[in-house]
């Protein structure tokens, strides 16, 4: 099929969706293509910290200032995606107070509201903290739901005329002189091919930025850094807990919805596709974070996962427009002589909007039009009704619940299905909290498939889908299976392999002849 668009955005992470929204509000039509679902890369695989800027205030004041400014904007335009928990930077005896003093000073310089708490004050705020701590600094960190945030951007973009093709991968870029002339893309689920003609292309593929550019015969120097995280089955603190020392492994615990997320590690990788959380990382994360919150030693974990940070290696060519050390925006016209191609990569979830704004500004300049950004003024869809756990609890026992861990109602899922365009199970799971709780979908995904069967929405073999899900789930669970989790795993295994007899061999189907 042939498609034509003014702007083709490649990549459905926070940046790509943010650009689609920004352009749509400026009245510039765009098509976004993404090889998975929205948030399949780093946008959906981070610790969900709503940065106040504190984490960079000492090492990278410029990035910190960006965070502070964006933090204020997001509180206004996306209150429903944010929980304002506050954060503590905790000094342990082994850390000393040198870094803390620099930290407080840097906060002052960056106008980041920080308050020094005594040991007693800190312990009265967070009962679970290590009682040996020296002091803590309180800053306005929070938790953010990347799924809600990115999907709200995508939704708003669509409402303003943008379009998207999910599960569609770019296969080749045809360069003709100083332009990318056409893009060949393929629907990965159904095999359909698209020949796309676009006036401008934006490469917002994050860790895959270099791979995409290769298709046009270009390169950028990227390093891939794996960050691993662990999820606990409950919230261990009310506030984000950071270690007050130069950034290093296992120095943060973020409360997020019903869980806490322990992060992170940093391991250089060659491949952006195949990676897993290693036992060494699990050990390190528990060892380090439990120094701040000792209960972590005994806590039950429900999942381990990793994301890839796309690190741009700056200084490779004099001409790059390194906007900040946080993110990088490349006009390939200046750099490589390709007039209609822009790359945006690096950055953080919290600065996604700024990245989108800067990218769209550059695009407008290239297009020779003068419309300003309004994404910082217009609230995202959903902002008017912050959805609360309280509402879910009120309906408990009155309406059918599919996921007992996260109280996801059947109605909610039906609504998501009605909105359409969902192509596989993971798409549904991205759009609800289904399977994100303690059992990690052990119970509710069977129900979900049952429901899809009832509604006549399943195509092909449901058990194949179920098997795919169980394998995916397994990757996250296997690294943290001990203690109580082993009990649950025995239960889940006995249900699927035992009662339902779903085995690795193609399921035995003895049809009535």
């Amino acid at each position: 099929m042939n498609l034509k668009t003014e702007v083709l955005i490649i990549g459905g992470g926070a940046t790509g969706a943010g650009i689609a929204r920004d352009l749509s509000l400026r009245g510039i039509p765009s098509l976004l293509i993404e090889k998975g679902d929205f948030l399949s890369g780093a946008s959906g695989r981070n610790h969900g910290l709503f940065h106040s800027g504190g984490r960079y205030v000492v090492s990278d004041p410029e990035a910190a200032r960006e965070c502070i400014a964006e933090n204020r904007i997001l509180r206004k335009i996306a209150p429903h995606c944010i929980e304002e928990t506050d954060g503590l930077f905790v000094s342990l005896p082994e850390d000393g107070l040198d870094f803390r003093n620099r930290f407080i000073q840097a906060c002052e310089e960056a106008a980041l509201p920080a308050r020094l708490l005594s040991r007693e004050e800190a312990l009265s705020l967070e009962l679970g903290l290590n009682p040996d701590l020296l002091s803590a600094v309180k800053i306005p960190d929070g938790a953010i739901d990347p799924f809600e945030l990115v999907l709200a951007n995508a939704k708003d973009a669509e409402a303003h005329g943008a379009t998207s093709l999910l599960h569609t991968e770019v296969i080749s870029l045809l360069v003709d002189g100083d332009r990318v002339k056409t893009v060949l893309a393929k629907d990965l689920l159904h095999g359909e091919e698209y020949l796309i003609e676009a006036s401008y292309l934006i490469n917002a593929t994050g860790a895959w930025a270099d791979q995409l550019l290769k298709l046009a015969g270009l390169r950028i120097a990227m390093a891939l850094s794996k960050g691993s995280m662990l999820i606990t089955n409950q919230r261990l603190s009310h506030r984000v807990v950071n270690r007050c020392r130069p950034p290093s492994d296992g120095d943060i615990v973020v409360p997020n919805h019903t869980v806490s997320i322990l992060g992170t590690t940093s391991v250089r990788l060659e491949d952006a596709e195949n990676f897993e959380v290693t036992p060494q990382e699990v050990f390190l994360l528990i060892k380090e974070t439990s120094k701040m919150l000792p209960a972590i030693e005994e806590t039950r974990f429900i999942r381990a996962y990793a994301g890839i940070r796309p690190l741009f290696q700056s200084g490779e060519k004099g001409d790059d427009r390194v906007i900040s050390r946080g993110f990088v925006l490349i006009d390939h016209e200046k750099r490589d002589g390709i007039r209609n191609l822009i790359t945006i990569t690096g950055g953080k979830l919290v600065t996604y909007r700024l990245m989108a704004e800067k990218t769209s500004d550059l695009l407008c300049r290239k297009m020779g039009i003068d419309v300003s950004c309004t994404t910082h003024l217009n609230p995202l869809p959903g902002a008017e009704k912050p959805s609360g756990l309280k509402d879910r609890l009120k309906t408990l026992g009155k309406v059918e619940t599919l996921c007992d861990c996260e109280l996801v109602r059947r109605k909610e899922v039906e609504e998501v299905l009605r909105e359409g365009k969902l192509k596989n199970l993971q798409d549904i799971l991205h759009r609800t909290r289904l399977a994100k709780g303690t059992c990690q979908g052990g119970f509710c995904v069977y129900r979900l498939l049952g429901m899809l069967n009832e509604l006549g929405l399943t195509e092909g073999n449901s058990n194949k889908i179920l098997k795919g899900f169980l394998e995916e789930r397994w990757k996250g669970i296997r690294p943290v299976l001990w203690g109580t989790s082993v009990k649950e795993e025995e239960l889940i295994e006995t249900i699927y392999k035992g009662i339902l007899n779903i085995t690795s061999a193609e399921c035995r189907m003895r049809n009535a002849e």
Binding site: P279, E400, T401, E454, N463, E471, W474, T503, A512, E513
Partner: protein, 405 residues
């Protein structure tokens, strides 16, 4: 209080142990935290599903025993297993009895539309065993989240129908509630009328296994009369109503035989002297009671039952701290794929041929304790589809050996 024999654990293996001891005329105490995995998983009696399809179970078992000398079945032996199974079936007199289909494994439909091998099945499920030759209708209930008629019916090329029960949509129903309602004649009347409307040439109707706890045969026959075609049950997810029927039958029989039944209690501590267990402390706040016995059967199950525990380094046994065969370090416990046979499941208590716990050197650890059920090492009961068979055989055999002297 002193007993001849104390059984720790009230799952199928513990119940079999208590039955076997009671039949030998012993004074028995059975202590259980809960009803074991019976009410979670046991719909039918699996013995060894993992044998070629048309093999007689007896032949399959004897080959299995030859090939797997460390398996619990090899401790018990073919004769012991057969005696144990007939001891089990003798407890279930018609109308709710257990039967085999031609001494082979039979295949029952599952909640995911697959067919599953099992051995002994209750009369309520028999019609499902030959379902491939029939055309059937699967019935589910709106709001019952553990069974979806369409999901089951699809792969079988049958039809599924989901009946609404409530006037207000969106309500949830549990298996226990459904099975209680099923015992009510007017409820059956209502759903019977509904089902007739949907029947179109089908010769049988499959329900999830919720046809009553107390008298499922009566429920089945009455439904058949109302609908006009054969009715059968399909094993569903936990809780297992058929498992509850098994538990209730054991409980009633054991109490009638004078067995002391301590349900909802767990053993807090044991008293050991000279390689013998003298008795157990049952903590029931604020008091703790001591029960002594000559012999003990440990039948506490695996991780779900609480018999085994895993910290980040190793697996241990929770009551006697018996040696447990270790499947390496945590990263080796589980295979890369969910569907692998995970090494952790093979770990468990090592025993001698009479099911007494032994150290890795082979030396007996406690002379008057025997171990039964899935806590034993050397099996993959879920993958082998041998759970109930192992529980019945070892519960029976451990006790036979314990009371023999």
């Amino acid at each position: 209080m002193h007993y001849d024999l104390i059984v720790i654990g009230m799952g199928l293996s513990g119940l079999m142990a208590a039955k076997t001891a009671a039949e030998a005329g012993r004074k028995v105490l059975i202590i259980g935290k809960g009803m074991g995995c019976l009410t979670l998983f046991s719909n039918t009696i699996d013995v060894l599903g993992k044998i070629p399809e048309t093999t007689r179970l007896r032949d399959g078992l004897s080959q299995w025993i030859q090939d797997h000398p460390e398996h619990p079945y090899s401790r018990v032996g073919l004769t012991g297993i057969e005696q144990a199974l007939s001891s089990f079936t003798s407890l279930f007199k018609p109308p709710y009895s257990f039967q085999t289909i031609g001494d082979e494994n039979c295949f029952l439909p599952t909640g995911a539309g697959t067919m599953r091998p099992t051995y002994l099945i209750p009369d309520t499920m028999v019609a499902g065993a030959s379902s491939k030759k029939k055309k059937g209708l699967i019935v589910g209930f709106k709001g019952f989240r553990d069974f979806y008629a369409g999901y089951v019916a699809g792969p079988l090329n049958w039809r599924g129908v989901t009946l609404p029960i409530f006037d207000t949509p969106g309500q949830e129903i549990s298996a226990t509630a459904l099975s209680r309602w099923m015992e009510n004649e007017s409820f059956r009347e209502t759903i019977g009328r509904e089902i007739i409307k949907y029947l179109s040439g089908e010769t049988c109707v499959g329900f999830p296994a919720i046809l009553g706890v107390n008298d499922p045969i009566k429920v089945k026959r009455d439904l058949e009369e109302k609908i006009g075609v054969e009715v059968f049950e399909i094993p569903a997810l936990s809780p297992s109503i058929p498992g509850m029927r098994i538990f209730n039958r054991f409980k009633e029989w054991l109490i009638r035989k004078g067995v002391t039944f301590l349900l909802g209690h767990s053993v807090a501590k044991v008293s050991i002297k000279d390689k013998r267990c003298e008795g157990v402390y049952v903590f029931n706040p604020p008091v703790s009671n001591f029960y002594s016995a000559d012999r003990f059967i440990l039948a506490t199950g695996r991780f779900i039952g609480g018999g085994l525990m895993a910290d980040r380094e190793r697996i241990s046994e929770s009551i006697f701290n018996l040696p447990v065969s270790q499947p390496g370090s945590q990263e080796e416990w589980f295979g890369k794929s969910f569907f692998d046979e995970h090494p952790i499941h093979r770990s468990g208590i090592l025993t001698d041929s009479s099911l007494r716990p032994i150290a890795e050197t082979g030396e007996p650890i406690l002379e008057n304790v025997r171990v039964a059920g899935t806590i034993l090492s050397g099996h993959h009961s879920t993958d082998e589809k041998s759970r109930e068979g192992i529980e019945i055989a070892t519960g029976y055999w451990a006790t036979k050996r314990a009371v023999a002297k």
